[in-house]
């Protein structure tokens, strides 16, 4: 449905998007993931013909973004980062204006406006002035505007930014429900969003694609190293946590031992290793005369994969993002 080939956008001094190529199949939801300033928005803007690429090209539904922009635009519904709404208009008026822009008219237009209102749950407020709506409603109006002409492709730039947790869930459900009829690309810097909504993920950093894979594959891939949670209890009387930690650190292949909880009788550690070490851990614990209460592999979260892939300066950014996400 979408084929991107060597797309590059260069500004005077910086390269925002550098030679990226990827493909999206019909009906897929693809997450475009990256820290702020990675080039997500620029890529989306080039796909929607808002920006002209410096080099490279892309096709949407078989039409080239440089050769046939009008055909491409007919087939794309686009929700920019801030919903492109006119605050002085009423929702119904606005949607009918956008519908006309996209080439709808007459009863067709009315039907689509009704449908979009219904689908995005704004039917009950469609006579309200957009400027007086809450952020969540505005976002929904933005989504309604994107689907009004029943486009093959939906491009959504951070569709959940600035919403409260309840609205975020509603928006995600809405996007998932749209997936059947449309091919969707959505960008985000919030990781759970990708694991919850998307099938495919494209991780982009500093204008380059660092990974393209399905969500489950990525998680699998990160698990090639192992991370295990160990709960150790002393058999008689108290237990010295430091001794346990030393013992665990001595096992071959273990790279890090993180204390999770400790008490008089039992301690919990997370052991990160570069190879499978569960057997060795179990043996070490038992041979030292302690009880092994629990031993289970913990999957690396997408967050950790993301950090592995986007390199060293990402953590600070991600923490800021996580904090921002929590505040929203």
């Amino acid at each position: 449905m979408i084929t991107v080939n060597g797309l590059t956008k260069r500004y005077a001094r910086t390269t925002a998007v550098d030679q990226i190529s990827f493909e999206v199949k019909q009906g897929q939801i693809v997450g475009f993931l990256g820290p702020n300033g990675a080039g997500k928005t620029t890529t989306m803007r080039m796909l929607t013909c808002f920006l002209t690429p410096t080099s490279g090209t892309a096709t949407v539904a078989g039409f080239d973004i440089l050769e046939q922009p009008l055909e491409v635009k007919k087939r794309i519904g686009y929700l920019p980062e801030t919903p492109p709404v006119y605050p002085e208009m009423r929702i119904g008026e606005y949607l009918s204006f956008v519908g006309q822009l996209k080439g709808l008219s007459g009863s067709d237009l009315r039907a689509r406006v009704d449908y979009a209102c219904e689908r995005c749950a704004v039917a009950d407020v469609r006579n309200k002035i957009i400027g007086k709506l809450s952020k969540g409603y505005r976002q929904r109006v933005g989504l309604a505007q994107a689907i009004i002409h029943n486009p093959d492709v939906l491009i959504l730039d951070e569709p959940t930014a600035g919403l409260d947790p309840k609205q975020i869930n509603e928006t995600r459900d809405l996007i998932k429900s749209l997936a059947g009829d449309h091919t969707i690309i959505l960008s985000t810097h919030i990781l759970p969003e990708v694991s919850q909504t998307c099938e495919q993920v494209i991780i982009i950093n500093k204008g380059k694609i660092v990974a393209t894979d399905s969500v489950s594959n990525l998680q699998q891939r990160a698990r090639s190293g192992e991370s295990v949670l160990v709960e150790v209890a002393g058999r008689i009387g108290s237990l010295d946590p430091a001794a346990v930690q030393r013992k665990l650190e001595q096992i071959a292949g273990v790279s890090r031992v993180i204390p999770k909880a400790d008490g008089q009788k039992r301690v919990i550690f997370e052991v990160e290793a570069t190879k499978a070490v569960r057997g060795d851990v179990a043996r070490a614990v038992v041979e030292s005369g302690w009880d092994l209460n629990e031993l289970r592999p913990t999957a690396l979260s997408l967050e950790e994969i993301f950090l592995q892939l986007t390199g060293s300066e990402a953590p600070a950014e991600m923490e800021a993002v996580a904090a921002g996400g929590a505040n929203q």
Partner: protein, 255 residues
């Protein structure tokens, strides 16, 4: 054509759902009303004096009332045009709705012409307020309507050109105040450029004075449709819209 009309209608609606249109209309009507009252009072006074002194001084309402009034409208228009054009693109850029327009299946030119047309219609409505005053002349006097019609055509053509320039300036910033101020400055300069011809006769002075919009209005005010002046106005419209299109295209490379 349909797309141009969709854009134009939306722009007109946004003039009229905010107080902008009403304030512009009322202020324009009030200011023109004052000029009209003044110039008519002066004319009536002159006429009475002429009768009392028994002079047969030829008096002509077209020459002595309509013509200066048309020139007045023209100058008042210079002050109002920036207020009509400043939001056209600056507002869309600020609120991000420009992304909606440029990613919809319509061409840049359709957007530009639609917006320009809405501003011209807005100005035409303001002119209509002045027509109401002039109707009194027909009720109590006997002016010739043809020169008057040509005068209005000239006003519209010239405003079309200035509005095209204002539209262009509005594409270059996301700040309405900047767009308005720059447009105002340009309009004012295009008005006073002609003054150099009063003391200087060199080629550069002639060029400058040729660029002055007011000199090209004189013949219209007289009721003469001079193709030279009409072509000047049409050229300004064309150039203004052409540069607007280039400016919009450059947004696709820069922003």
């Amino acid at each position: 054509m349909r797309n141009i009309w969709i854009i134009c209608r939306k722009e007109l609606r946004s003039y009229f759902v905010s107080p902008v249109a009403y304030i512009l209309l009322v202020m324009f009507a009030v200011i023109f009303g004052f000029f009209f009252w003044n110039s008519l009072g002066y004319f009536v006074n002159m006429a009475m004096e002429a009768t009392m002194e028994g002079e047969q001084f030829p008096m002509n309402i077209n020459e002595q009332v309509v013509r200066p009034l048309l020139a007045n409208i023209n100058v008042i228009g210079l002050f109002f045009i920036p207020m009509i054009t400043m939001r056209l693109f600056a507002e869309e850029k600020r609120s991000g709705t420009i992304e909606l327009l440029t990613t919809s299946p319509i061409t840049d030119l359709q957007v530009i012409i639609g917006k320009w047309l809405s501003a011209v219609i807005m100005y035409a409505l303001m002119l209509f307020a002045t027509v109401l005053d002039l109707l009194f002349l027909f009720r109590y006097g006997n002016p010739d309507w043809k020169p008057l019609a040509i005068g209005y055509l000239g006003l519209l053509l010239q405003a079309g050109g200035l509005i095209a320039i204002g539209t262009f300036i509005s594409t270059m910033t996301r700040n309405q105040i900047i767009a308005g101020a720059v447009t105002f400055g340009v309009c004012l300069l295009l008005w006073v450029l002609g003054w150099v011809s009063q003391y200087e006769n060199a080629t550069w002075a002639q060029v400058l004075s040729y660029m002055c919009v007011i000199t090209h209005f004189d013949s219209f005010a007289k009721g003469v449709l001079d193709s030279k002046d009409a072509i000047f106005d049409l050229t300004v419209i064309f150039l203004g819209l052409f540069f607007t299109a280039r400016s919009m295209e450059s947004m696709r490379w820069r922003s």
